[in-house]
Assembly symmetry: C2
Amino acid sequence: MAQRIEIVEGILNANDRLAAQNRARLEGARLFSINIMASPGAGKTSLIEQTARSLGSTLRLAVVEGDLATSLDADRAAAAGARAIQINTGGECHLDAVMLQGALDQLDLASLDILLVENVGNLVCPAAFRLGTHKSVLVASVPEGDDKPYKYPASYQGVDALVINKVDLLPYVSFDMERFRRGVAMLNPGLLTFPLSCQTGQGLEAWLEWLVTEARAVRQGI
Amino acid sequence: MAQRIEIVEGILNANDRLAAQNRARLEGARLFSINIMASPGAGKTSLIEQTARSLGSTLRLAVVEGDLATSLDADRAAAAGARAIQINTGGECHLDAVMLQGALDQLDLASLDILLVENVGNLVCPAAFRLGTHKSVLVASVPEGDDKPYKYPASYQGVDALVINKVDLLPYVSFDMERFRRGVAMLNPGLLTFPLSCQTGQGLEAWLEWLVTEARAVRQGI
């Protein structure tokens, strides 16, 4: 058992070292990058589609899509106008820094303004593996229920921003926004939060403004 | 690397051996058992609540709840009338056979008719770890989207039944049932499927009938 723990710690440390290398490359290219995590079906790809459609005419976006199988998400991101790279994890339940490194090798980083990395749909495993991006974003969604911060605390603890997607479904499901927000506040006080709907477009503006502001700050080396 | 693979294979084999022991205990007690898997928020706990409320007066149900943290789900199952055991996995992204073994130790198996095991909300990891239950059930839900069988194939491949929950939300989301079912049929032809809504009760009857029939068969040693 001790041996297995040592090996696992070794893997995590190697990942952190590679994540630091990724970050240095992104900083060097002044390319703002985010790691987008969520349950399957919370709307990561829809958020990326909406972002690419809205910002694609003024900013240069690339998307790295992590999936167990298929290139369905990369196809959607590309159709929305973004440069898209697909990573198939071959069954792994999360992206790691070496997978992102391989994707960065395929991109001309200096020619881009924003890099959106879509992690594997999973509320547990991705939280343990840094990729080296500037920010981590969690996408929650209303039909998942208001108990998720309580049940999947690690996913909420480590992130820099929270999107609450599918607010258009609030009238049709039992979701107590106050209970949800109390759970989030307990784990990550003052967390930047964007309630929105990728379906109706409601609330997207604040999210897009945040991205643009952050990307500008990285571009200017602030 | 070779060494790591050997260790991981060792863990999986040990899990399979323990799963076989769990199954022998369940068979010995003639206790029908299912392993319920799904994304976070697909409705596993709601399905268990509805099942306990509907069958609790005629059958003796117990529920084993697997979560990273909290006893929220066990509390809900207990409030619905079931005997409930909580397993906190301490961060592990799935249940395994040794965790179920510990839960079985706390139950008087011979006094029960149906054992419902709720796995950690995760569409990736639980599929790789047998628990020893008679059947595995996947709960999908309409707001997750119709692309999930294509993107998380392993979860759909290994199961004996599929619940499609939240069909009451079909009018409010874009979900192509034909596309979803084609994906499922490709991975698991002829899979027994129960479209239903735990919110409205629609479709629950077929699910309950299946459980009762299966439990009776196990009870009678068929």
